[in-house]
Amino acid sequence: MNDSYNISEWDLEIKPHDSLLNLHLNDVWNYRDLLGLLVRRDFVSFYKQTIFGPIWFFIQPIFTTLIFTIIFNKLANISTGDVPAPLFYLSGTIAWNYFADCLNKTSTVFRDNANIFGKVYFPRLIMPLSIVVSNLVKFGVQFLLFFLLMFYYNVIEGIRVMPNIFILLFPVIIILMALLGLGVGLIITALTTKYRDLTFLVTFGVQLLMYATPVIYPLAAAPKKYQLIISCNPLSGLIETFRYGFTNKGEFFSSAFIFSVVTSIVLFLFGLVVFNRVEKDFVDTV
């Protein structure tokens, strides 16, 4: 037998540290079936032993929209521009929830799955990815509601709310929101393996962040001096463009949008690297 081995003869090498940029993405690809099964698990377990089952996906945005319309539009008299208030709030709510759920769930992924992660290896990134895909499906389902409401205003109320060319950016926006939620979530979950207090920060931080995002008001309605600050929130550009594309009301803030694109991608890549660094031995500290 030959004593010297070629590196290429080995299928796997377990080492203390890999290079920073080795993200094992091919490993993630090999486990793509697991991703699908985890998403399926999330859905099946969500509505098992409930009375309304999948209807719960609709109840939450409907009620949020209702409350927002009453509180912010009717009581506080915040203008929603030319867009009918319910339509405005519904679009904001489902988009915001999509982002917030991605962020909240990924930011506790190590802690929530410590049990499984401590017993079996699979690319850890599969878990946050499955969270994002689950939320994407949920978003898709809730989006039907938005379509129904658009239909209602156009056909029954006779208010013309028509999409414009920016609707083509819709898929890009959806992906960017996912990347942003995932990126920030990955950074936070990596840090929470050591510093638990960040979890508390996230739960109320995300709530507050909603008010710094044009969810309940159009960016154009904000005073000029605050517009810049609000645009610094990478979500602002995304949600504004999303709404503009579907309703053709308001305006397209190109600089805010470009800023969102760049920040989302940078935060995502950074999150990926940090997560990858921590995943190897977080079991020892969590």
């Binding site: 037998m1 081995y5 003869e9 080995w10 299928d11 796997l12 090498e13 377990i14 080492k15 203390p16 540290h17 890999d18 290079s19 920073l20 486990y31 079936d33 697991l34 699908g36 099964l37 985890l38 399926r40 698990r41 099946v44 377990s45 098992k48 032993q49 049990n115 499984i116 992660f117 401590g118 017993k119 079996v120 290896y121 699979f122 050591k194 660094r277 190897k280 031995d281 079991v283 020892d284 500290t285």
Partner: protein, 422 residues
């Protein structure tokens, strides 16, 4: 045959107590080294993982410079006392955590079974869980599909396939979980004591399956267990770990002898103290099981004592045995002379006696032994109080996986029973 696993100088350090170095600047320095992929500047090397000695740093090396090679198709047992580093080694091998130093090179797909049923979701049905669990363990969907009937057949849960697993009995749950794992498509299978679950019949089936996997299918199996019976049945070679280091690799029988010797410390050999000034006495006593000296006793079988006795004159003697629980409370008495008329005529001087006792199913924990040399019903020559002790390590109630330990305060002996509604 080629090498399937080649481990070179692997070490794994764990930090005791707090996870910070104590100051923020050191924390940042450590973090910066970590980010760049360098080693931690605050780790000290070379301290062995000896829990009885208080180390002078907060770092414990649960694996210390371990190297080994495992050939393709071999079934290798990893044995060692509690805390020897077995579980850590398994964790590193199955990539749950990374080594602090060293590297392991692997040829082929690894599947590890540190626990059965990882990722089972109680709300999902048996069928759904087979797929989910299989995928978590690294199988592709079509592979599971192909093995599906085999898995269901092995687990024997066909009727309940579309029932949520939360309604399964624990036995069914474990059978299903093991079945998925046993049908993994991999070249290397790493198994941690999962055989200690399920009823005896199923355990035999699992052991048989594992044997097939290594012998019949030519796959490499790494098996960690306290159950020496299972290890010797399954493995040709063993690796013996002690305090985080490898002390032996080779033939299973020799390894088990070594393992049994490791349990010994000064208390396990009883020696007569001359200050008692007795005429006839037990000079030395040792505890054996399966022919080896040990103080970790396999449950529910028998134990032997080897006694060296000294008599000042020719005598008729018999021997008695008292077993005490962790609180030194007597729980078992076996007077061989009084109860079974085992009397012996002994000549003046030194003699060697062997005693054996069937022990019932005991709770895990420590037991103490009194040995008595007497003339049955007449007089006691020597009563060696708490002469020896032993530990029962493995204990699983057959059907439920429930563990019976002395610490629960429900006694120490498990007896069989039955109940029925009249």
């Amino acid at each position: 045959m080629s090498i399937a696993i080649k481990a070179e100088n692997i070490s794994k350090a764990y930090q005791l107590g707090e996870f910070t170095t104590g100051t923020l600047s050191r924390d940042i320095e450590r973090w910066w080294a970590n980010i760049r992929g360098k080693e931690d500047p605050y780790l000290k090397i070379g301290e062995a993982n000896d829990r009885t000695v208080k180390g002078n740093s907060d770092i414990v090396w649960s694996l210390n410079d371990i190297s080994f090679e495992i050939k393709q198709g071999d079934a290798v047992g990893i044995i060692g006392r509690n805390g020897a580093g077995k579980s850590t080694l398994l964790k590193v091998l199955s990539r749950v955590t990374s080594p602090t130093k060293g590297s392991i090179k692997v040829k082929g797909r690894i599947a590890s079974l540190l626990e059965v049923g990882t990722g089972f979701h109680p709300e999902l049905t048996g069928r759904e869980n087979i797929f989910l669990n299989g995928a978590i363990l690294g199988m592709r969907k079509h592979e599971i599909q192909r093995k599906f009937d085999e898995i269901v057949d092995f687990a024997g849960v066909e009727r309940y396939l579309d029932t949520p697993v939360k309604r399964y009995s624990s036995g069914m749950y474990v059978r299903l979980a093991f079945a998925v794992a046993a049908h993994l498509e991999c070249e290397i299978l790493i198994v941690d004591e999962v055989l200690a679950v399920g009823d005896a019949e199923f355990q035999r089936k699992c052991l048989g399956k594992m044997g097939d996997v290594s012998k019949g299918e030519g796959r490499t199996v790494l098996f960690v267990s306290h159950n020496m019976g299972a290890v010797s049945q399954l493995c040709k070679d063993v690796i013996v770990l002690q305090n985080g280091g490898k002390i032996y690799q080779g033939n299973t029988n020799d390894g088990i002898v070594l393992y049994n010797k490791m349990g010994i410390n000064e208390n396990v050999i009883y020696e007569y103290d001359v200050k008692f000034k007795k005429k006839h006495f037990i000079k030395k006593a040792i505890l054996k099981q399966f022919g080896h000296i040990t103080n970790a006793v396999e449950n529910g079988t028998s134990i032997e004592f080897e006694l060296d006795i000294e008599c000042a004159s020719d005598l008729t003697v018999s021997f008695e045995f008292i077993l005490k629980d962790k609180d030194y409370k007597e729980i078992i008495f076996s007077p061989l002379g009084l109860a079974f008329s085992k009397d012996h005529s002994i000549l003046k001087g030194a003699s060697r006696i062997q005693l054996s006792f069937a022990i019932p199913y005991l709770a895990t924990g420590r037991y103490y032994v009194d040995l008595i040399m007497a003339q049955a019903g007449v007089q006691t020559y020597d009563h060696a109080y708490n002469a020896l002790y032993f530990d029962i390590l493995n204990n699983y109630n057959d059907k439920t996986g429930w563990v019976f330990t002395q610490a629960m305060g429900q006694g120490a002996i498990l007896v069989e029973g039955d109940s029925q509604i009249l």
